[in-house]
Every structure is written in structure tokens, then in C-alpha cells.
């Protein structure tokens, strides 16, 4: 069956290793990625004409970045690479593609590997839509991809490993930091350390950033609740409640915020994959076996899009998904390679679980979010309107609520508000998080320029 067409969506760590594994077996997969160059999020490449070294861009990760970029570049004429191309919909075994100018294409697949990565998870606070507030990932992209800082005096608020990493990268680039405001109690992070020994190198890096930032006098508070961003048309202050319950105000001209990342699962949803609620991730994820087989024949899952376990594990699961695909097509594969990747995947999963427990999602913040805070930044629906919809209209789950008040119906398809909508719904209705369901994916998974044109012309 060597003539079968395998398509990989995503050219990050997972997609790259999947492509490499298929090419090694003699296949020529199609690789589609929305980004203009391969690398994915963590190893995102700067545009042509930029000159910073890999060391400067990726720090401790420079070696891995170089190896991953080289691996992809070596595949040049052995894959059908479609950069700058988004997969926006699916229909049976066909994928709908659009390039930047809105030019459309449809390609069929016999097997499909989804390696679509993750996006920041957000908890809204009053003023979070104001110019100057960005995701932690966005703040990092500004620096890595554009050699810019999001502001001259940046406050970072949230939880998770990216909080300290981005702070470190900003300070190293000469940025002023108004402070690092962690919603997790320090004791909780320290209690997580022994289990994180599953990956001593990553744990050591985390501790290094922390110690370096402390040594450089960056203000750090733990166990805080962000209350609001203030300013006239742009951010001028961050107000938060500290662990003693006092309201405190910090001057800043930009805020980077985020709470770990969440899997991009919209395409798996369109393809009809079964989902299950993952309590630790606090998210509905497509069901998969250890090799990344989804519930749908011929559809495989890899990388952070399947379950957030970091870049190293993404490489392993990319290879595994490709091996599963070869196995299912009756093609030979190296069992030793598979066993090695399986081991790496299991180690990575253990470390990811420990990280989740050390930096838990701050469910408690939702109890105190004011009704006036915007929940959905696309449709501009407030937390209060959403709560009232749940209480008064008998919407027992998030898709009903969406139909009533448009939360999650906007252009981002709930990427920015979905996690919050589910938690607010669970709290308001007094039920378990899993009981309020999940926002269903819809095509197009991201807006097409042409569709927006019509929308605006109406």
C-alpha cells in the first residue's frame, strides 16, 4: 500500500518527527502548516533577514532546535510541504485547505496525523481585552519572532512553566519587569519538586530561571489573584489581591498572562473522533491509544495537540503516530525504535502530570470574577450575562448557553474563552466540570479572509 496518501497537519516537533519516520519507510507524506516556516511554537524560526543566533533565540534548547530544523530541512524534496496553508475543514477523507490569500484546495487522505499543538489557556480579569494585555505565548513570540518586547515595563501574571521562562527571556533581552505574579502558592510548587525528578534537566532549568530572576531583583509574588488592568485606552496598572488579602497596584505598560497551555482539538472534533474528559488536563481530549490512534480509522494524534506533554514528548509521539500508521497499513517498522519512543512518551507523560499538579489551574479564581468582566472577547459577552443565561434560561451545558448568548460562537471558536466558560458554567450550575460538556468545533476552524469579506460587506 505504498501509494497511500498520508497527510500530516503541523510541522512542529511532532509533525517533523512523524514526517521523518514516514519518509524513512519510503512514503512521501503531505505536510501542511499554517506557519511560513517549520519549527512549531517552541522552535519557531525567525523571519529571513534576522540574524540572532540559535543560542540567543532558544537558550538551553538551542541544540534541540537545530536538530529539529535540520531534520525537517533534510526532508525537503521527500515530502510534499505546504507552508503558509491552513486546514480549515474536513469532509470524510478530504481536507479543505486555504492559503494566505484565501486560495482554496481540497486534498484527500488515506491516513492523517494531527500534530496541531497547543494555545495558551486564559483566565479573564477586568480589562483583559485592553491594548497591552497579551498571552504569555504571545509575549514570547513578540521577542522570538519579531525581536520586540510587548512593553517597556511588563507584568507577568498566571501560572505554569511559561511564566518564569518568558520572564527570564524578557529580562535577558533587556526588558524591565514590573513583577512576576504567580497564582500558585509557592508551597505547592515546592511540594511538586520530587515528582518532577522524572525529568531532572527540565526541573533544573525551571529552578535556574526562578533563582536567576530572584537574584536579579525581579519582584515575585505567589498566591495572588489578578483583579483588573487599569488605564486609558491602554494598560497603565495591574491591580491584584495578594495572599494576605490586600489589594495592591503595580504600574506597568503591558501584561502577559496565561495558565499553562491547552490542546488544539478542533480538527479531531470535525473528523468525528471520540473525546473523553481528562481531569488532570481539565480539558476534553480525543481518545487515543499509546501509539496515538484515535477512535477514527486512519486518524492519528501526536504532540501537544493530543495531550500537552511538552516538546520532547511531542517528538516521541510524532514518531509513534507515524509508526502506528505504518503498522496499520501493513508496512514494516523497527520495533526497537517504537519501544524507545514509547519509553520517552511514558517518561514525558509522568513529568507532565507532575507539572500539572505543581502548577494547578486556578479554579478558585472564577468564584471572584466580577459580572462586568468580559468573558468572550469576540462577541463581547460579560461573565454576568453568561451566568444569567445559565441560571435563567435553563442552559445545562455550554453549547446550549452558546446558542443563547453567543459565548464561544465568535471568530476564535472559544479558544480564548472556552476553558473559562466551562468552569463558570460548572460553578453556576453547581455541577462537575465534565458535566457541562465542551464547545463543539465548527468549520472553518479559523476564519477565512474571504468569509470575513462577506461578513463586513453585509
Amino acid at each position: 500500500m505504498s501509494s497511500s496518501r498520508v497527510v500530516i497537519i503541523g510541522a512542529g516537533p511532532a509533525g517533523t518527527r512523524a514526517a521523518e519516520t514516514l519518509v524513512a519507510a519510503g512514503l512521501k507524506p503531505v505536510v501542511v502548516d499554517e506557519a511560513p516556516r517549520s519549527g512549531g511554537q517552541i522552535y519557531r524560526r525567525q523571519p529571513p533577514g534576522f540574524g540572532r543566533s540559535l543560542k540567543k533565540l532558544y537558550g538551553f534548547e538551542a541544540g534541540k532546535a537545530a536538530r529539529l530544523h535540520d531534520a525537517f530541512d533534510r526532508l525537503q524534496d521527500k515530502v510534499d510541504y505546504r507552508p503558509g496553508t491552513m486546514v480549515w475543514g474536513t469532509e470524510g477523507h478530504n481536507l479543505h485547505l486555504a492559503d494566505r490569500d484565501g486560495r482554496q484546495d481540497v486534498i484527500g487522505f488515506d491516513a492523517l496525523i494531527l500534530a496541531t499543538g497547543a494555545v495558551d489557556r486564559i483566565v479573564p480579569f477586568e480589562g483583559w481585552t485592553m491594548p497591552g494585555v497579551y498571552t504569555l505565548g504571545g509575549a514570547q513570540i513578540a521577542l522570538k519572532y519579531q525581536a520586540c518586547l510587548i512593553g517597556r515595563n511588563v507584568a507577568l501574571v498566571g501560572s505554569g512553566p511559561l511564566l518564569y521562562l518568558v520572564a527570564y527571556q524578557y529580562r535577558r533581552a533587556g526588558g524591565n519587569l514590573a513583577g512576576i505574579f504567580d497564582t500558585t502558592p509557592l508551597s505547592r510548587e515546592l511540594a511538586g519538586l520530587p515528582r518532577m525528578a522524572a525529568n531532572p534537566a527540565n526541573t533544573a532549568k525551571g529552578l535556574y530561571y526562578f533563582a536567576w530572576l530572584a537574584a536579579h531583583g525581579v519582584p515575585m509574588l505567589h498566591d495572588v489573584s489578578p483583579l483588573r488592568a487599569e488605564g486609558e485606552g491602554r494598560v497603565a496598572r495591574l491591580v491584584l489581591r495578594d495572599r494576605a488579602g490586600r489589594e495592591r497596584t503595580f504600574a506597568c505598560d503591558a501584561i502577559a498572562t496565561g495558565y499553562h497551555v491547552q490542546s488544539e482539538t478542533q480538527l479531531a472534533d470535525l473528523l468525528g473522533c471520540d473525546f473523553a474528559f481528562d481531569a488532570r488536563a481539565g480539558q476534553w481530549l480525543p481518545r487515543q491509544d499509546e501509539m496515538g490512534r484515535s477512535s477514527v480509522d486512519g486518524v492519528y494524534l501526536a504532540g501537544d495537540g493530543a495531550s500537552v506533554r511538552g516538546a520532547d514528548t511531542a517528538e516521541a509521539t510524532g514518531a509513534l503516530a507515524a509508526l502506528a500508521c505504518l503498522q496499520d497499513q501493513g508496512m514494516p517498522f523497527d520495533a526497537a525504535v517504537r519501544n524507545q519512543a514509547l519509553q520517552a512518551m511514558r517518561r514525558g507523560s509522568a513529568f507532565a502530570a507532575a507539572l500539572r499538579d505543581a502548577f494547578p489551574f486556578p479554579e478558585h479564581l472564577y468564584e471572584n470574577i466580577a459580572d462586568t468582566t468580559l468573558l468572550c472577547r469576540c462577541e463581547e459577552v460579560s461573565v454576568g450575562t453568561f451566568r444569567a443565561t445559565l441560571r435563567d434560561k435553563g442552559a445545562g451545558e455550554v453549547n446550549r448557553a452558546k446558542a443563547f448568548c453567543r459565548v464561544g460562537m465568535g471568530r476564535c471558536q472559544g479558544r480564548m474563552c472556552g476553558a473559562s466558560a466551562a468552569r463558570i458554567a460548572a460553578q453556576t450550575l453547581g455541577v462537575e466540570l465534565a458535566a457541562v460538556g465542551r464547545l463543539r468545533g465548527q468549520a472553518p476552524v479559523k476564519p477565512l479572509p474571504t468569509a470575513l469579506q462577506t461578513e463586513a460587506g453585509e
Binding site: Q46, P131, R234, D253, E379, P447, A456
Partner: protein
């Protein structure tokens, strides 16, 4: 870089200069800038939200939030964080269709 800019360049500043227009006024960017970077190194907003008409300046920078769609003068839509600036691009931060506000 203007005082009122949101973004601050910290490296890679000897790239080629790219002239463009925003709301009819000439401005400059650097080759390799996204449209979002080109705008936010001069100003602190790129568009108004559709309903409350509040200023927005993007959020995720990775094509996820969709809060950075702006216009070209000929009515095309561009997602500012994932579109590269091009010489003589003519950008609008307000809709050329409905809801257009005086500049």
C-alpha cells in the same frame, strides 16, 4: 519608535526599511515585521472591537484569538499577527464598510 508605541524593538534593527501607509498616513517598518509589529511600534491599537467599539491590539500573536483582523484600503482582510508587511501596503485600522468612524 514613537513614545505612544506599545511594542519596543530590542534587537535586529538593521533590517531594510519598508515604507507603508496606515489610514492614509505614511509610516515605516522593517523588513520581516508582521503587520501587527509594524503598527504597534508606532501606535497602541490596531482596531476597534465590533460591538463595544473598544480599542484592541491583538492578544495571542499566533493566529488563535482572531483579535487582530484589519483592512487594506481596497477592502481585503488581513490578520495582522500572521501577515508580513510589504512595501507600500495601504492599511486601515477602521472598517471601510459599516461602523466606520471619523479618523
Amino acid at each position: 519608535m514613537d513614545e505612544q508605541s506599545l511594542f519596543l524593538r530590542v534587537a535586529e534593527q538593521d533590517r531594510e526599511i519598508v515604507p507603508f501607509f496606515v489610514n492614509g498616513r505614511p509610516a515605516t517598518a522593517l523588513s520581516g515585521d508582521t503587520v501587527l509589529t509594524a503598527l504597534l511600534t508606532h501606535d497602541h491599537e490596531v482596531r476597534l472591537s465590533e460591538i463595544l467599539e473598544q480599542p484592541r491590539a491583538g492578544f495571542c500573536l499566533m493566529g488563535a484569538c482572531q483579535d487582530c483582523w484589519i483592512w487594506t484600503e481596497d477592502g481585503k482582510r488581513v490578520r495582522a499577527c500572521s501577515t508580513m508587511i510589504e512595501p507600500d501596503m495601504r492599511l486601515r485600522t477602521r472598517s471601510p464598510f459599516n461602523g466606520a468612524r471619523p479618523e
